[in-house]
Symmetry: C2
Subunit: 248 residues, 2 copies
Amino acid sequence: VHLPITSRDNQWFRRFREAAAAHRDEIVLEGPKQIRDAIAAGWLPIAVAVEEQSEQAAGVSATEVTFAHSLFRALSDTVHSQGVLALFHRPSSRLLDLFSGAGLVVALDAVQDPGNVGTICRLAAAFGAAGVALTEGCADPFAPKAIRASAGAILRIGVVRTTRRELIAAASERRVPIFAAASSGDSDRPVPVSPAVLVLGSEGEGVSQEILDHSEQIAIATAGTIESLNVGSAAAILLARWFEQRRG
Amino acid sequence: VHLPITSRDNQWFRRFREAAAAHRDEIVLEGPKQIRDAIAAGWLPIAVAVEEQSEQAAGVSATEVTFAHSLFRALSDTVHSQGVLALFHRPSSRLLDLFSGAGLVVALDAVQDPGNVGTICRLAAAFGAAGVALTEGCADPFAPKAIRASAGAILRIGVVRTTRRELIAAASERRVPIFAAASSGDSDRPVPVSPAVLVLGSEGEGVSQEILDHSEQIAIATAGTIESLNVGSAAAILLARWFEQRRG
């Protein structure tokens, strides 16, 4: 019989808590489906945590710890986790990996909402983009809310935290054009099927001037009654359009 | 000097609380921008509530009440409301109004997440749809989270709660074809520019069989690595495609 851990000083509790909150080298996945998907995608769990009296069997060959209810709930709500969490190393892709396949690199410029980051990672995976690059000021793509919004897609595509400067340099070095979604852009210009970077900005600010200075701007035509689209909606429309053109 | 209301038995407190929680005949809008937008769109406030010591001046000709902090926070968080709320009559459009303009009626079938409902109302407004019809089981479009996700668009387009049965009857009576987004559909079929209903279903269940039985199905082609798109993403792609065709 496992006695549940009840102390907030316990090393595992502290490690899970830090991973869930601090966005550092380890991340926490919630619930049996996310954990199974990650393992299926080749990830190796460091440890699995089960809530006291939960009926979850982790079924994973990793260190297993049992937390008392109060501790478990400090890490995750029961609805999302269904009584099981797992600790993983944060995946580390490099920016140049995204450019290696001559596909479309989706870049997010200071998109702060983790739900939007997750939604766009899901779209990037659905439409076969090469991966997602996140500049300064973006939400952590491995925050629980972002992973949920990605419906697990984030576990299967390359996601890289970078800077505007590195992104511009990487594209320039490989002569890959940058396209920025901006309401002042040309709404009839498609994202080219050849290698390209597609940048989406934050809802309030749009794409930063630093990136606009190195980009061609594309817009989405609307009926003109609303100022702007949600960044997730804009990504959906531009990625679907790119995918259709690629299919020919 | 206004003395702030401190009693939870106060009639105004109870009325705001019921409107915020119970999804009945009155609704609550949060924050100066939402309230200004609603008034600009022709809505008349019943009353305005200000948080004690808030620097908000409502600037609206309606009954004004001041709530103590604790009461105000029971109605809305301070971040979203910025210290001011207003009570309005729930707008009442009729299903037949949506069909009167020979445009595109967007219908949501049991879409439970208020964020998705709001996002799709925003898209419907952005692309000039005739309005949004919600079947049984949809989230309340005038819940605070839905209004926020709509970025206020919900205040400017017709939104109607209806039933699958009424929707099918209204379309059939006017010989307006129904198109349902479904992964088994034809990914090359566009939504026609002539009057039509476009139905999007819940993420888990898709469009109900009852509606599918009266619909042609359209799908969105993807790279095939992910099971489905978020319903907000699907709506963005199909509405943008419809709008582009209409522009010609």
